[in-house]
């Protein structure tokens, strides 16, 4: 009897699945090709092929003539002995670690002040919009704002400020402290991404948790420590790994603000590869420098897939804003 009811009622009780199995019948690859074809062509041509090419190129002495001259491991041996590469590696370590701290730490601070502490929702939104501005601004204009802000004459904002307040003489900030400049400039952009992701996570915490905590007499600090942070564990981990990957490979702002200078002081690994390839046209050597990044990137991507799982990463894709 029971079995009879179940069998009879299945198609009626679950029309959704019935429709799905009816429509989503197996198609051949050929049938899907008109839809997936253009996507595949572009991805293969400009993503997969370049990955393979980068690796093959790294074993050649290719220059601007773009001829394949295989030289074996010569580029990698050169890389190990290259003093500038050593400086770049050290700079990259400093740059990624410090910027990460700003991105995640300051991003968390912004998220918590604009969503948890701000009483009026609109006020919080206003501050969040202000912080989204640098992210929405094209890199060239963002760099221009920094160049003006740090201008070595009294026209620069920072020099005007210190000059009026402390009567300090104008300083060339980019010349004296290029690394902090690069770190803060990139940190501001990354902090807004942290802010958006963490704010969304804080908003998704059920309100009853906060009520329960306040009934128990929890202070703001207790609520942050025992309610918010445990809920934000995964987003924070995700942001940390994601940003590590994008910081390792991004050099656009550095190129525009300091161009690695003065004297390699703010040269990072990815920018070094760019300079070798498009500055002195050592394509093969530049590719070898890139390969190091490609390997690290693939490892990080695989780790992410393992830690966060397939589905979580698909959903994360929506929250990524730009760059």
């Amino acid at each position: 009897m029971e079995q009879y009811v179940q069998e009879k009622s299945l198609p009626v009780a679950y029309p959704k699945e019935a429709a799905e199995t009816h429509v989503k019948r197996k198609s051949s690859f050929i049938a899907a090709l008109p839809f997936i074809g253009p996507f595949l062509i572009l991805i293969v041509l400009f993503y997969l092929v370049p990955v393979v090419l980068t690796i093959v190129m790294s074993f050649t002495g290719m220059d601007f003539t773009l001829e394949w001259k295989f030289v074996g491991l010569k580029n990698y041996i050169k890389l190990c002995q290259d003093k500038s590469a050593g400086i770049a590696a050290l700079n990259t370590l400093k740059y990624v670690a410090s910027t990460l701290l700003i991105n995640v730490g300051f991003g968390f601070l912004l998220a918590i002040t604009t969503t948890y502490f701000t009483k009026k929702q609109n006020t919080g939104l206003l501050f969040q919009t202000i912080w989204m501005l640098p992210r929405m601004t094209p890199a060239v204009i963002y760099a221009l704002l920094w160049l003006w802000f740090l201008d070595p004459t009294e026209y620069g904002m920072l020099n005007a400020f210190f000059g009026k307040l402390f009567n300090a003489p104008p300083r060339d900030w980019i010349l004296t402290s290029p690394m902090p400049v690069v770190i803060i400039a990139n940190g501001l952009i990354g902090a807004s991404l942290g802010m958006v992701v963490f704010s969304a996570a804080i908003k998704s915490i059920p309100e009853s948790y906060f009520h329960a905590a306040s009934v128990d007499g929890a202070t703001d600090w207790d609520i942050i420590r025992y309610v918010i942070i445990p809920f934000l564990k995964w987003p924070i981990m995700f942001m940390t790994i994601w940003q590590t990957l994008s910081l390792l490979t991004s050099y656009e702002y550095i190129l525009l603000i300091t161009d690695g200078g003065p004297l390699n002081k703010s040269e990072v690994w990815a920018l070094y590869s760019y300079h070798k390839a498009f500055g002195s046209y050592e394509f093969g050597y530049g590719a070898a420098i890139s390969v190091v990044l490609v390997i690290i990137a693939v490892i990080i991507a695989l780790v992410m897939l393992k830690v966060f799982g397939y589905d979580a990463m698909m959903n994360r894709g929506k929250t990524k804003v730009q760059g």
Binding site: S27, F39, V49, E207, S214, G317, K318, Q322
Partner: protein
């Protein structure tokens, strides 16, 4: 919104929070105010307060910019290039991601799982690490120093992300709708075009806006892959302008920067509206 009772502690309690937020946000506000103020004034005092209203900084709109003997090309063809670049990126990215998103969401074919997994790894994979190889590929297919080449590269690098977004929108459309369309005699293309696409208009406009903004802001590929000045985009033009006028004429740079920023500001205002709609755009059919 976690709005717990904190009335008893009142304004005094939240004052430090507001002071903190205002202090850290102030430099950003000042920077953008400066961009605006200095583009319309001949001189700034204290770095930010305008003195003497002028339109001279905007002279690039109606005349050539000259520096010594070198004259910069007019900004209008450059602007046209930027529109062409961002527009082509938008159209291609939207069409291709709509097609691919449909297949990944609604069809079951061999190799689908592999494509999805590879795409997700690529999505996390930074395109700039591949710049050297891309240079070779573009040279090979004869698209170096051409705007179309930059368009294709940029579209390819943004596709994984755009396709994920579109796939997400498709996933939310009920299957009954599709079933009904098949019963009415639709084929796959008609179904895609006539039934499914109208359902996700807000999603499409969101992807289009992101694509346009990314194309408009694009710098590194244009800077590396375009050499002839007739192909320059606004980003490259402005970068060169900054190189030459940095210590001479911030007013000119600010005006040119603001000119370049106009679509971003406009789209920022529009996108806030249409992004809100994604959550509410229900099924009408």
């Amino acid at each position: 919104m976690p709005q717990v009772k904190r009335n008893k502690r009142g304004i005094l309690h939240s004052a430090p929070i507001y002071i903190f937020l205002i202090l850290v946000s102030l430099p950003i506000v000042i920077a953008y105010l400066w961009l605006f103020a200095s583009s319309f004034s001949s001189k700034l005092t204290l770095g930010i307060f305008p003195k003497g209203l002028t339109l001279n900084n905007w002279r690039f709109l109606w005349s050539e910019i000259k520096l010594g003997l070198t004259a910069f090309e007019s900004i209008w063809p450059v602007t046209l290039n930027s529109i062409l670049l961002a527009g082509s990126i938008t159209i291609l990215e939207v069409i291709i991601s709509l097609l691919a998103g449909f297949a990944l969401s609604r069809m079951d074919f061999p190799g689908k799982d592999l494509i999805m997994k590879t795409t997700i790894i690529l999505h996390a994979f930074p395109g700039v690490a591949l710049l050297i190889a891309l240079f070779y590929v573009l040279n090979f297919i004869n698209l170096l120093d051409s705007i179309m080449g930059v368009v294709l590269v940029k579209v390819a690098l943004e596709l994984p992300m755009a396709t994920w977004m579109i796939k997400g929108f498709f996933d939310e459309i009920p299957w009954e709708l599709e079933w009904a369309a098949y019963i009415d005699g639709c084929n796959k293309f008609q179904l895609w075009y006539k039934v499914i696409l109208p359902q996700i208009k807000p999603g499409i406009s969101a992807v289009a806006i992101f694509a346009f903004l990314a194309g408009w802001s694009e710098f590194i590929y244009s800077y590396t892959f375009l050499f002839s000045s007739e192909h320059y985009t606004l980003a490259v033009f402005l970068k060169n302008l900054i190189g030459d006028f940095r210590f001479l004429d911030y007013g000119l740079l600010a005006a040119a920067g603001l000119f370049y920023l106009i679509p971003v500001i406009v789209f920022f205002l529009i996108s806030q509206k249409s992004l809100m709609k994604i959550n509410f755009g229900g099924i009408k059919g």
